[in-house]
Amino acid sequence: MGEIVHDLPLLLRGAEFTVVVCAISGVVGSLVGLVFGMARASTSRVARVVSAVYINFIRGVPPLVILFFAYFVIPLAVPGVTFTIGFTVVLGLSVYAGAYMAEIVRGSIEAVPTGQSEAAEALGMGYLAKLRYVVLPQAMKIAVPPGIGFLIALVKASSLASVIGAVDITKAARILSTGNNEPLKMMLMAAALYFVVSYPISLLGRWYERRLGVRSGVAAGEGWV
């Protein structure tokens, strides 16, 4: 019992870092994804190409390597800037999340039947009005379940922040296990904490899926590791 009193504060501070970082990069990533997903599905050739390069490249690179770019490369490429570790992690995870969210948004926009878009045009709506009042509201409904599925992936990917020295759940468990030589117990506690953070998000996704009767990335077996 005494051990838990000693270990828990660090683990909980790690959990706080994990939750805060995931919340911020989840929101920023969703916004980035919205912009790039719309660009990817737009009629402008330049916008399509630029967003395709971003989406496809980031989706082809491991999140760990993206974090290394944020950690090692940016301070070298932009001399004079120093970021806190929290900011570095949020930056890397937002860039990572943005690309996957953009792909989800693009797929959702394309899943809206073309008749909807044509009907809006027939009513004399301009491109932006069509997007704002007809296409996006329907696309967002489709995008929410896989978006929630990706949030779970984001929580798990945030464990990679421990590799560049951020004290999240994983790092806290590592620090404690080198202190007490009980990696098995510490890592099981870390796993339990991740489960506590991530499982409610799965349940939220499933609830949404049931309520709206849409297929979800959570239940459809989209793998995110």
Partner: protein, 217 residues
Amino acid sequence: MTIDWGSALQYLPVLLKALWVSIYVTVISFGIGAVLGVFVYLGKSSRFALLRTVSSAYIEVMRNTPLLVQLYLVYFGLGQAGINFNPLWSVVLGMTLNNSAYTAEIFRAGFDAVPVGLREAGAALGLRPHQTFRYVVFKPAVRNVLPSLTNQFIILFLFSSVGSVISLEELTYVLQQLNSKTLLTISLFTYGALLYYLTSAVIARGSRLAERLVFRW
């Protein structure tokens, strides 16, 4: 500032060798994991409640905890329990177990998506359940499953980079080693990222081509 793109190029053979480690670790884990995934899927759709519960719990736990923590559990956790694997086998074991949970869900989604009418039609024609499975359900289910499996393979390949953390000498590990030795940070990580990107692009293109060739039916 100037970036020395040329000097890092001499390490390309080393990087390619490390990329090969990433690839074969992924192939082995994906292969065994997918076979294991079939059994987990069968367990989840079994008649026995206990088997269903155990399989579901396995899938949920695996899918809601990070691969990094799973690798730490295998490498350090099992080590504490007296079961020692070297980094290679720890990564293969961790990635295999991880992959089995994801592929089980992919199989479930793929087989569930086959319309019930097909099964009923098979039964109406007097086919036995295993015949219905083999001659009626199997092909459309495989077609449902393959794109997701490719996706999963690419994601597993990208996450094999996590093996670097328990010192498996794959691409990301070698990048870090070379980086601290040569300080050619920008060019090295750029080349490394390009290698990852090109490999996953080739896998994606290749599987789309294979699907078009195989699924004429």
